[in-house]
């Protein structure tokens, strides 16, 4: 070997500097993005579903597609679905799969705590969530009357990040408490009913009264309403923010509980 490890002469020094958390987080984010794009179908699938839903269910209905407000609102609710789905799949399933790999314990022997990996995961999740929105927004822009001002666009991006957080917690909670096989089943069972009842596939205006009342207690509906408000100015109900916050706290507790429990089981 050409480079002699000169550090071995001072083995008592235990305060050796580790790499900065931020640079390690960037490193983990980069490699997680790289790992994901090596399986292009995972990325394409993620981008395709909301775009196809838009193309098949919104664009052909000329009444909806020609009305700027409803078209924009429909784009918003499908965007909400895309974000929710990315959070649940990439964090829920992704974390469960990583935990099952022997590379995960190895990473814990490197001189880095769990924080950089967690930040990296959030970052790569955000990248793919936004990537998933591109075809949806393009279709809305090209084939419907949907329209937003630059200010609304910016506000909506912030709202998207905000409404994504509770689902990030739910995803991580699922990912750290279950095996990959259980996680994929649970994610699907949670995702589709919650999306439907939250008015992400059909606008809640056409819901029967009882479903609308129930819907308003769901985080998916609260997130949808806030996003639609940011996009169109249609006011969300007053309960949207408290509902979202409540679920957010609950899911955050779930995520922390699952992470600690997992650590206690595997690395006691």
């Amino acid at each position: 070997m050409s480079t002699a490890p000169t550090m071995s002469t001072a083995p008592t020094m235990n305060t050796a500097p580790t790499m900065g958390t931020l640079s390690l987080a960037v490193l983990h984010a980069r490699y997680q993005v790289l790992e994901t794009i090596r399986i292009p179908i995972a990325v394409i699938g993620n981008m395709l579903f909301p775009a196809l839903a838009m193309l098949f269910f919104v664009v052909p209905q000329s009444v909806v597609a020609r009305d700027p407000v409803t078209a924009t609102a429909d784009t918003g609710q499908l965007a909400m679905f895309a974000v929710m789905s990315t959070c649940l799949f990439s964090f829920g399933l992704g974390a469960a799969e990583d935990r099952a790999l022997p590379f995960e314990p190895y990473l814990r022997t490197l001189p880095a705590g769990p924080v950089p990996q967690m930040i990296g995961r959030m970052f790569s999740g955000a990248v793919f969530a936004l990537l998933g929105l591109i075809p949806l927004v393009l279709i809305a822009w090209l084939f419907t009357a949907a329209t937003v001002t630059p200010r609304q666009t910016l506000l909506s991006l912030l709202v998207i990040v905000g409404v994504a957080l509770p689902f990030l917690g739910l995803g991580l909670g699922i990912g750290y408490s279950m095996s990959p096989k259980a996680a994929i089943a649970v994610v699907q069972v949670v995702l589709f009913p919650m999306a439907f009842a939250g008015g992400l596939f059909m606008p809640p205006e056409i819901f029967p009264r009882w479903l609308d009342v129930f819907s308003k207690t769901l985080p998916s509906r609260a997130g949808r309403d806030l996003l639609v408000q940011a996009l169109t100015g249609l006011h969300a109900s007053a309960t949207a923010i408290p509902v979202l916050l409540g679920w957010g706290i609950l899911f955050a507790v779930f995520a922390v509980w699952a992470y600690r429990r997992d650590e206690g089981r595997r690395f006691r």
Partner: protein, 302 residues
């Protein structure tokens, strides 16, 4: 006297009802090359997982470079290997090396390292597509990428062919010659013999032996001698023969006995000299497992 790189004192670790390590104490000094020998399930891997901070002991203390191995700063000069099956399948070989190297302040250039481990041609291949031997080499290369002062290697050459094994051994000897400390586990006597200067024998969570290589080899390199005696009473006399560490009767009414001895030649000469009547003599080298058993029984008897 420099401070030890690893200091394990009175460490006990249980998994449910199983005691994986029972009051183990051990210190490794800078520059040592220690081989940990023991059958599967002896506690070797558990000991390594305590030293690399993956697990914590139920009792006792572990110091790594004088610090707690569970804090990242203590692991800056530690290198360890992933299990070969655990490499991220979609990342390319050079990317995996680069990714791990960037966790360290002073990593080795990826190209150099791949060259040394004969992996240069695979640099652009995805890790999932490597052969078992290539994965094994990559796993060991990852232990060295951070220019560590200590590497922990769990069964480094399991599943490698002869060439691959010798290449790895050469790389480890180079690293050691440049001042690095190595702790490796193996259940191959041959591997420990080829590399280690000091050998620690572990079984059932206990340190059975901890000594220079040749001393330990002398104790575990035993032969198994089997013979049949016409008279059951003679079985007792066998215990007094030279170098016999263990006698077990096979039974079945044929008075067959198995002896473990450090010197089979002297034993047979003695049998002949004392005119012992025996038949069906069989001599073969004892497996490591049998040697450990002999060692265990002797420790218990002592």
């Amino acid at each position: 006297m420099t401070a030890p790189v690893i200091e394990v004192s009175h460490v006990t670790r249980r998994f449910g009802a199983v005691v994986a390590l029972d009051d183990v104490s051990l210190a490794v000094q800078p520059g040592e090359l220690v081989g940990m020998l023991g059958p599967n399930g002896a506690g070797k891997t558990t000991l390594l997982s305590l030293v690399n901070g993956l697990r914590k002991p139920d009792a006792g203390t572990i110091r790594l470079f004088g610090g707690d191995p569970r804090t990242p700063a203590s692991r800056v000069r530690l290198g360890s290997t992933p299990q070969e099956t655990g490499l991220p399948p979609t990342l390319k070989v050079a990317e995996v090396v680069d990714f791990v190297g960037r966790h360290y302040p002073n990593p080795r250039p990826t190209g150099d390292l791949l060259e040394q481990f004969g992996l240069s041609e695979m640099a652009r291949r995805q890790a999932g597509g490597l052969s078992g031997g290539e994965k094994r080499r990559l796993a060991v290369a990852l232990a060295l990428v951070g220019n560590p002062a200590l590497v922990l290697l769990d069964e480094p050459t399991t599943g490698l062919d002869v060439d691959g094994r010798h290449m790895l051994w050469a790389a480890l000897r180079d690293y050691h010659a440049s001042g690095g400390t190595i702790v490796l586990t193996s259940h191959y006597l041959e591997e420990v013999q080829a590399l280690a200067e000091r050998v620690v024998v572990i079984d059932h969570g206990h340190v059975l032996a901890d000594d220079a290589l040749d001393v330990v080899i002398g104790r575990v390199a035993v032969r198994r001698v089997a013979l049949t005696l016409p008279d059951a009473a003679d079985l007792v006399a066998l215990r007094g023969l030279p170098g016999v560490v263990d006698v077990s009767e096979v039974g079945n009414g044929v008075n067959r006995a198995e002896l473990l001895t450090a010197d089979a030649d002297a034993l047979v000469r003695e049998l002949v000299r004392t005119d012992t009547a025996f038949s069906d003599l069989e001599v073969r080298s004892a497996s490591l497992e049998e040697a450990f058993l002999a060692l265990t029984r002797k420790e218990v008897a002592a």
